[in-house]
């Protein structure tokens, strides 16, 4: 998967939830959803649902728990797509 393209897609997905627009503009692999983007923790489930819809995958509870930053999201999506 192309890392730059994935981050771009993820930026669009998290855009409505991110309260820190500056961090969103500089989103990269190490960006943390809660600490950097200031996404309300309750909205993390919405981010996961939107990611599922975008890539047509199903993310399990355990994976959801660790999907807290861009790198983790990329790893999980990549693994799911390779299983297809």
């Amino acid at each position: 998967m192309d890392k730059v393209a994935f981050i771009e897609q993820l930026r669009e997905i998290v855009k409505p939830y991110a309260k820190n627009q500056a961090a969103l503009a500089n989103i990269n692999a190490s960006t943390d959803f809660i600490n950097d983007l200031k996404i309300n923790s309750a909205n993390l489930v919405d981010v996961v649902l939107d990611v599922e819809e975008k890539y047509d995958i199903v993310i399990q509870n355990e994976e959801m728990e660790r999907m807290l930053n861009v790198q983790a999201a990329m790893d999980i999506v990549e693994a799911k797509l390779s299983e297809k």
Binding site: P16, D46, L49
Partner: protein
């Protein structure tokens, strides 16, 4: 400690007008907000007319951010937030910035139920084994207190934030509960009001009970007919009304515009005894509620200029008028002016009392009696109790000093409030 309490802000989302300016114009002109509802017809309702406020997306965007709107399908929360924030702004109050909420301000904002459309989506998902796809707002949009929770966050309220629920008495009750909190010094300002969802999933039960009219599908604007000989049931409505209540001291210190003073009132129940039931009022309790409200307000029944009734356009309107006559010991030409807002907006259920109180507050401040529409064929039992001249069908400009508003609800519950004109400086 006993504070005087005044109304310093109004907000309204009504089937015949969204925003105080549009609503004022509509009620003065006697414009009905009842329309044919194609969705109800498609769902084979007997009653295919209703009152749904017009809240286009562009308007919603002024009150909710993009993320909130992405997931919002609770019409009651949309109506209530618009009305509530409007009342706050109308009172010239600002929203606190920074970490400290406004400890002196709270809200008691009622609802009959919350987010029925969101609830429907959630139920379908659960039954399709998709509980994990409900998203993050299925709870906040369907909890009964959803509306007060949304308003509390948007306005930074740090005092009591709660939702009351007592069927069609809800709106009037919210104002009395808020009044008492300020009177006793527990808050300086309370946003009182109520909201009701719209649509077939909230109105279906009334259709099933045959309390909604099925005789006016071809002439919606003439369908809601309180006090008429041809009244044949309610027209279901929806929306929200909001009143910013404030201690007189706080209002004067801020130099706020005062719409009216809340003198007090009464809330009671007929206990579903003596003719009262889950759905019908115990007349002795209704009369007692009105009398106790007059007493609590410290006024004489003879001085009431205007009554804003509950008057739903079912067969119970004559009984209500009789109860007013008995309770106030006034009838014929001596009866106060009588208004039925439901003739224009239908029965807005849990929102009815607050929308009707917004109308009453405007009438006190601006000195008018709005026209009662659709009662050109006044019910003979009502005409025998009250001189028809007291039930005006044309707009009247009159100084109104004292107004009484009552609401009654399923569960045999009653509320009556007395509002007084506040002399303008």
């Amino acid at each position: 400690m006993s504070n005087r309490v005044v109304i310093t802000g109004l907000g309204v989302v009504s089937p015949n007008g969204v925003g105080v300016a549009a609503f004022r114009e509509a009620i003065k002109k006697g414009i009905a907000g009842i329309r044919y509802e194609a969705q109800m017809a498609a769902l084979q309702f007997s009653c295919c007319i209703g009152g749904t406020p017009d809240v286009p997306v562009a308007l919603q965007q002024q009150y909710f951010d993009e993320l909130e709107l992405k997931q919002l399908s609770s019409s009651g929360i949309i109506y209530g937030v618009i009305a509530g924030m409007d009342a706050w702004a109308d009172a010239q109050l600002t929203v606190p910035e920074g970490d400290s909420p406004d400890w002196d301000s709270g809200t008691i904002f009622g609802a009959g139920s919350s987010g029925v459309d969101k609830f429907r989506e959630a139920i379908y998902k659960v039954d399709e084994l998709q509980v994990r796809r409900l998203g993050s707002t299925a709870v906040t949009q369907t909890m009964a207190s959803g509306i007060s929770a949304y308003l509390g966050g948007k306005l930074g309220l740090g005092n009591q934030v709660t939702t009351n629920s007592s069927a069609c008495t809800t709106g009037a009750e919210s104002v009395l509960l808020a009044y008492e909190r300020i009177k006793h010094g527990h808050a300086k300002r309370m946003l009182a009001g109520s909201t009701s969802d719209s649509g077939p999933y909230i109105w279906g039960g009334f259709d099933a009970m045959k309390v909604s009219t099925f005789k006016h599908n071809d002439q919606p604007a003439r369908g809601s007919r309180p006090m008429s000989a041809t009244a044949s049931g309610i027209v279901p409505g929806s929306g929200a009304g909001a009143l910013l209540l404030e201690s007189l001291d706080s209002a004067l210190a801020r130099g706020a515009v005062i719409y009216a003073e809340v003198l007090g009132g009464n809330i009671n129940s007929g206990g579903q005894r003596n003719g009262g039931s889950m759905t019908a009022p115990n007349s002795a309790a209704v009369q007692r509620c009105i009398r106790d409200a007059v007493q609590a307000a410290g006024i004489s029944a003879a001085d009431i200029d205007l009554i804003n009734g509950h008057l739903t356009a079912t067969g119970k309107d004559a009984e209500e008028v009789r109860n007013w006559c008995e309770a106030l010991q006034r009838s014929g030409k001596d009866f106060p002016y009588l208004n039925a807002l439901k003739s224009m907006v239908g029965h807005c259920l849990s929102a009815s009392g607050s929308i009707e109180l917004v109308a009453t507050a405007l009438q006190l401040k601006e000195g008018f009696v709005f026209p009662n529409i659709n009662c050109e064929d006044l019910h003979p039992e009502i005409a025998a109790l009250v001189d028809p001249e007291r039930i005006p069908q044309q707009l009247l400009y009159k100084d109104i000093h004292l107004a009484a508003k009552a609401s009654f609800g399923f569960g045999d519950v009653n509320a009556c409030i007395i509002l007084k004109q506040y002399p303008q400086p």
